[in-house]
Amino acid sequence: MTVQDLTAQKEFVPVHVGKTADREITKTFCCDLLSIAMGKAPEGCAWITVMANMNTLAVASLADAACIVLAEDVHLDETALQKAAEQDISVFETKLPIFEAALLVYRKINGE
């Protein structure tokens, strides 16, 4: 399943879907502490978190996640939105709790 495929999911609102949207999502990863995510997030994962700030974007980009899914109806502020666009980092928002958002991505990855 690619990042682009997630846009078809009605629960997920695309905030920025980058030029690299054809990228395959390899795994699901959940964590809100940045340096744990930095050390453990698998390359190409969908990273589900409630931590919505500039640093989340930096970590996703540097650890090479495929996209960020912001759960629990949290939002990026205006500067962070700009940065997501500038750095072409794919970000989705959802009202779902972290577990349910992750489960949904997980099921999609496994073709359920």
């Binding site: 502490l33 340096s35 930095m38 050390g39 640093n55 930096a58 970590v59 980009s61 540097l62 650890a63």
Partner: protein, 141 residues
């Protein structure tokens, strides 16, 4: 080998909106230089943790990155308080990050361990009240 490329950055203190800019720039430059993606990822992770620590725990400083065909060498020199007990600081979970920093998602006490884990060499020189200089090397080959 003669062709060493040197990149230099100044890290400003207490600027969280800009923190990570040096690491992002290094990542882009390494990409342009055609460095292998797994090497870029290691450098990016280690450098970001070090850069953020310079902002959170010190008063900013200077980052120098030397790219040679064999390795990428990063030197992070800050003008902060120094680290009183390096082995304690290196422990996973140990953090002195204040609450307002923790609310941004920092403070797991994993930064220095990530730096160690993702590099082939790491050295910390520190002097209380003067600052800390961390050298890290990631082998290219």
């Amino acid at each position: 080998m003669a062709d060493i490329i040197t990149l230099r950055y100044t890290v400003s203190p207490d600027d969280f909106t800009r923190a990570g800019e040096a690491s992002s720039d290094v990542k882009n430059k390494l990409k342009q230089l055609g460095i292998a993606p797994p090497v870029i990822r290691k450098v990016s992770i280690a450098l970001y943790e070090g850069e953020i620590n310079m902002v959170i725990h010190a008063k900013g400083g200077e980052i120098t990155v030397e790219v040679s065909p064999e390795s990428i060498r990063m030197v992070l020199a800050d003008v902060g308080p120094g680290i009183p007990d390096i082995s304690l600081a290196m422990k996973e979970g140990y953090s002195t990050a204040p609450d307002e920093i923790r609310s941004l998602g920092f403070g797991a006490g994993m930064g220095l361990s990530n730096m160690k884990k993702y590099t082939d060499y790491m050295d910390i020189q520190t002097e209380l009240g003067i600052g800390t200089t961390i050298t890290m090397i990631v082998n290219v080959t």
